[in-house]
């Protein structure tokens, strides 16, 4: 399944989609979005690259096993949960400070963001990883 149109369009679509995914994750706390949806978007983008360019191109794009994403995401989410305990706060306590921004209004920067990024990594790793692995089975018949 590699049509010329899709193949060329993906060169533009993929970076834009990835940026969009990260944007969705970052703004998620106050506006529609979030880590889960960001992860799904990124996974769909990667699946599209896999479909249009084949598995070797995908391997160059992501030169490691997707399980690393899952492990990293779980570790990040877990750490976000544990760190407040070091300060005698309950697990997963969120602080939502506003970082001062010289160019505009203050940036909403909740610590839950790191948790959300962990969710994103896990979702990308699971969705993309499963599809790649199963797709490999199909390719090899």
């Amino acid at each position: 399944m590699s049509s010329l149109i899709l193949r060329n369009a993906m060169g533009l679509i993929f970076p834009l989609t990835m940026v969009f995914a990260i944007y969705m994750a970052l703004k998620g706390h106050n506006a529609p979005g979030g880590g889960f949806i960001g992860g799904l978007i990124a996974a769909v983008a990667m699946v599209m690259v896999r479909l249009s360019h084949g598995k070797d191109a995908m391997a160059r794009l992501m030169p490691f096993h997707p399980r690393l994403l899952i492990a990293g995401g779980l570790a990040l989410a877990g750490l976000t949960g544990v760190v407040p305990m070091l300060f005698d706060l309950p697990m997963l306590t969120t602080r939502a400070p506003y970082l001062s921004n010289p160019f505009g209004e203050p940036i909403h920067m909740p610590t839950a963001l790191f948790f959300d990024l962990g969710v994103l990594l896990v979702v990308v790793g699971v969705a993309a990883g499963m599809i790649f692995r199963l797709g490999e089975e199909v390719d090899e018949g």
Partner: protein
């Protein structure tokens, strides 16, 4: 009192040093032995320091109390001072002896100290009532010293037993020392822990270490099976203890705020507890607590009918048998009963349960021991017998003192058994090394191995309780207690008779050991044609005999331990006033042996009483005379098994076979059946909630909306249309047969839901659902291509309708549940409660007071619930963040499942299987 850190160090030293030995090179056998011995030695030294410290403190208090009494010049007040001033104990012996004979000490008996000597507390899990604190009273310290002291010698003996010549000895010692260190730590924890649950934790650790040590020979299937048997039996008891501790803690909330979770609290509030126990009809929970805890004690201490695991445990190497399964671990149950005794002896049931079980175990063990030929098995059954005696001793203690609980010299009894049983095992293991463990093959062995056989023969004197050993005095004390109890409870006469029969058996075994080893006429001889019944006869570790100084380690520890028997036996006052007396329970401050027999029994006293023989001495004489006759009699020498060996196999068969039947009934392996189970449970579980909602007069949002929608049908038509599409596609799924069509219908259903979200202005949900549908459809399509080609079977119409009905029922249920959750006005039943949506909104971006104030206030983010405006996201990452953490973990596990169920292909190249070069570098593409 002792510092908690000192005791903690003593408890942890054996396992810590045992682990350190792992870092030594494997063939450094002597340094390893010395280092490992250091662990229990440190524990012993520290506990001894604590014991001396306690004694000095008691002495000081005693002197203080005496000075006060002299100042007041009032005898009664002295008495009260003692009760209030707590453990003015063993030293009060002589002091009280005179005064208490005058007035029957009804009030002062069995009053444990009101301030038991606990250490401070190191907080661990305070909310679960689990902290590190230690109770260093006499009983605990005595056990601690016994365990660490014998442990030190066993570490040395292990070197002699495993030797250095055998092919596996370096490996054996390498594994043995850390495991034994683990056991010593666990056992010290059991006897010293103050928190009940801490005791339980260590208790289970002793079961685990016992399991590891019984199954020491990993390649011997029988040993592994016996290890499982011991583990299941004691583990079952551990569950009983767990339940008992929990019930006890919950039942005593009326006495101490939050319940009693420390042994010291139990002792300190003994008055209130004893009062409740005497009226146990009003407090049935306490009865259950006792029964459950006794199940733990009974299984651990091998009480009938759970005794079968202990002879089986003899599959372990002999150092383990000598240590765990005779001297220490099996006494954990006895220890527990001793711990409970000062309080629970007030329970009417206490002697009624413990005396019969203990007496039956005692008699049974004695008689079966007489019929064995394998030395280890003989001593195993005498251990069972002795454990029964110790249990019965506590039961009789509940009767013995004018109807008040008092226990005489229980520590002496326990020490006595350890001091002869451990050497017996040590010598049995040693003789098994050099000759055989079958007593019929050992005729005249003394002339070949005098040291080993000498140790065994000396220890056998202790087993027979002949005069000149501590054992003799201990047996006299037991008989004395039973005799006294019998004067008030005539049924105890039966126990007295059973004790005499058991003593006959023990004497007979001693006579056999002596005559056989010395090769005297009347000794055991190998008889031709006799079938070999010995379970596990013949050692599992055959090692060549060693020569030299280190080889003596195989008997020297035993000789050291058994010498205590004779030192204490010949100089009893030395043993009691300087050693064992320090640890006797406070209740024995008023022991009747001291008051009525005229002090500590020693040779002089016993010689004097020959002229006025008391019942106990007559009993002993009968036992010795009959024992010699039985020991020499030939017809009683058969070798029989133990019918109780079948209890565990029967239980095992029942569990495995019955469990297998149930398993095959439930686990059909058919996905359809599983789904039906799950959905059926869902329908049954939540159907009633929907039913209740339908019949309630709460109109709910559905009624409001449907009324409004009927009025303005045109405004709602996009939603209604999409909803109909969702329903239609959903119903079409079970009606179609081809997989790929079903997947497409499922996708259509999902995309229609996306449309619904868009119509009702939830763009983020719509986007999430859209992405999710894309990924799931792709996944489905790929998986379907991988599945084997489907067989198209014509499905009957009724079958299809059945599927549709199930789907509609489940879908309707879930939909209705969602509506209930979202719309039910809970304020009717629960004032102040809000609809679910309102609660979620408040937790996400409202503050504690309500929704309105802090919304979007960048200056006061802390005052807001979750600190974000996107409710869905705040639910996910903030106030239900723990759920999300669990969910992403499950996702990760699912992905791992895919990767592990589809292992990377191995390609066949030139007839050889090699790993796929593409996948080998870790890229899944």
């Amino acid at each position: 009192m002792a510092s908690e850190w000192t005791v903690l160090l003593a408890v942890l030293a054996p396992v810590a040093i045992g682990l350190v030995t792992l870092f030594l090179p494997r063939n450094w056998i002597e340094p390893r032995t010395l280092l490992a011995t250091l662990g229990p030695a440190i524990a012993f030294a520290l506990l001894l320091a604590v014991a001396i410290d306690n004694r000095d403190a008691l002495q000081a208090q005693h002197n203080h109390a005496e000075a006060q009494a002299a100042a007041h010049g009032n005898h009664d007040e002295t008495h009260d001072d003692h009760a209030g001033d707590d453990h003015a104990k063993p030293h009060a012996d002589e002091h009280h002896a005179s005064s208490d004979t005058a007035d029957p000490p009804l009030s002062a008996v069995a009053h444990p100290p009101s301030h038991p000597p606990t250490t401070g507390t190191i907080e661990w899990m305070p909310s679960l009532n689990i902290n590190l604190a230690f109770l260093t009273d006499g009983l605990g310290l005595f056990f601690g010293l016994l365990v660490s002291g014998i442990g030190t010698l066993i570490m040395l003996y292990a070197r002699g037993y495993f030797g250095r010549a055998g092919p596996t000895s370096a490996d054996d010692l390498y594994r043995f020392y850390p495991t034994l260190g683990f056991f010593i730590t666990a056992m010290l924890g059991v006897v010293l822990a103050d928190y009940t649950i801490l005791t339980l934790l260590f208790w289970e650790m002793t079961s685990i270490s016992s399991f590891l040590l019984i199954g020491w020979d990993r390649y011997d299937k029988k040993a592994v099976k016996l290890a499982m048997q011991a583990f299941f039996t004691t583990g079952l008891g551990g569950m009983g203890l767990f339940g008992g501790v929990l019930v006890f803690g919950n039942a005593t909330g009326g006495i101490v705020e939050g319940g009693i979770w420390r042994w010291s609290q139990m002792l300190a509030h003994s008055d209130a507890l004893i009062h409740q126990l005497q009226h146990v009809g009003d407090h049935p929970q306490l009865l259950w607590a006792f029964v459950l805890m006794f199940i733990g004690a009974g299984t651990k201490s091998a009480q009938f009918p759970f005794h079968y695991w202990l002879p089986g445990a003899m599959a372990a190497p002999t150092p383990v048998s000598a240590f765990l399964h005779s001297a220490t671990m099996v006494k954990a149950g006895v220890f527990l009963v001793g711990r409970l005794f000062p309080v629970f002896a007030a329970l009417e049931l206490f002697p009624l349960v413990i005396i019969p079980l203990g007496a039956v175990t005692m008699l049974y063990g004695g008689i079966v021991a007489l019929q064995q030929h394998d030395l280890k098995r003989i001593f195993a059954f005498t251990t069972v017998s002795q454990l029964g005696l110790l249990m019965a001793m506590y039961g009789i203690g509940a009767y013995s003192y004018h109807g008040h609980a008092a226990i005489d010299y229980d520590v002496t009894q326990i020490a006595n058994h350890a001091f002869y049983k451990a050497p017996l095992f040590i010598a049995a293991g040693a003789i098994g090394h050099v000759l055989s463990r079958d007593i019929t093959k050992l005729n005249g062995a003394f002339h070949k191995h005098p040291a080993i056989c000498g140790t065994m023969m000396a220890a056998a004197l202790g087993l027979a309780a002949l005069p000149g050993t501590i054992s003799f005095q201990a047996k006299e004390l037991f008989l004395y207690g039973a005799y006294h109890a019998a004067s008030e409870h005539p049924l105890v006469w039966i126990v007295l008779g059973m004790t005499v029969i058991t003593a006959v058996c023990n004497v007979a075994i001693c006579v056999r050991v002596w005559t056989t080893l010395l090769g005297l006429p009347g000794g055991m001889r190998e008889e031709h044609g006799e079938p070999d019944h010995g379970h596990g006869s013949g050692g599992h570790h055959e090692h060549a005999h060693e020569h030299g100084l280190l080889a003596n380690l195989i008997w020297l520890p035993g000789a050291l331990i058994v010498s205590l028997q004779f030192v204490g036996g010949i100089f009893p006052s030395l043993a009691w006033s300087n050693l064992l007396g320090l640890f006797e329970q406070p209740a024995t401050a008023h022991n009747y042996f001291a008051t009525e027999y005229g002090g500590i029994p020693n040779l002089g006293k016993i010689a004097a009483s020959v002229t006025h023989p008391g019942v106990p001495l007559i009993c002993s004489l009968i036992a010795i005379v009959l024992g010699v006759i039985v020991g020499l009699a030939k017809p009683l020498r058969g070798s029989i098994g133990d019918f109780a060996d079948r209890i565990y196999p029967a239980m095992y068969w029942l569990a495995v076979t019955g469990g297998g039947r149930c398993f095959r009934l439930v686990q059909t392996g058919n996905l359809k059946h599983y789904l039906l189970f799950v959905l059926g449970a869902l329908l049954l579980g939540f159907g009633w909630a929907v039913q209740a909602d339908l019949t309630s007069d709460n109109p709910g949002m559905l009624a409001v909306f449907s009324g409004e929608a009927a009025d303005n049908l045109f405004e709602y038509w996009p939603g209604i249309l999409l909803g109909l599409i969702v329903c239609l596609t959903a119903i079409l799924i079970p009606l179609t047969e081809v997989r790929i069509v079903r997947v497409l219908f499922l996708g259509a259903c999902g995309f229609a839901v996306v449309g619904l979200y868009l119509v009702y202005q939830a763009p983020d949900l719509a986007l999430t659902q859209l992405m999710f549908e894309i990924i799931s459809v792709i996944l489905f399509v790929i998986v379907l291509r991988l599945l084997p080609r489907e067989k198209l079977v014509a499905v009957t119409l009724s079958n299809k309708l059945w599927r549709v009905a199930t789907a509609v029922a489940v879908g309707g249920l879930v939909g209705w549940m969602t509506l209930i959750a979202a719309t039910t006005d809970r304020s009717q039943t629960n004032p102040g409660a809000q609809p679910l949506g309102h609660t979620l909104a408040q937790h996400s971006y409202g503050n504690k007071e309500g929704l309105d104030t802090a919304l979007g206030d960048p200056d006061a983010p802390e005052k807001r619930g979750g600190g974000g405006n996107n409710i869905v996201n705040v639910i996910l990452v903030d106030f239900r963040g723990f759920d999300t953490l669990g969910e992403i973990t499950v996702l990760g596990i699912a992905a791992m499942g895919v990767w592990s169920m589809l292992p990377h292909r191995r390609r066949r190249v030139d007839g050889k299987i090699i790993n796929d070069p593409h996948t080998d570098k870790g890229v899944a593409l």
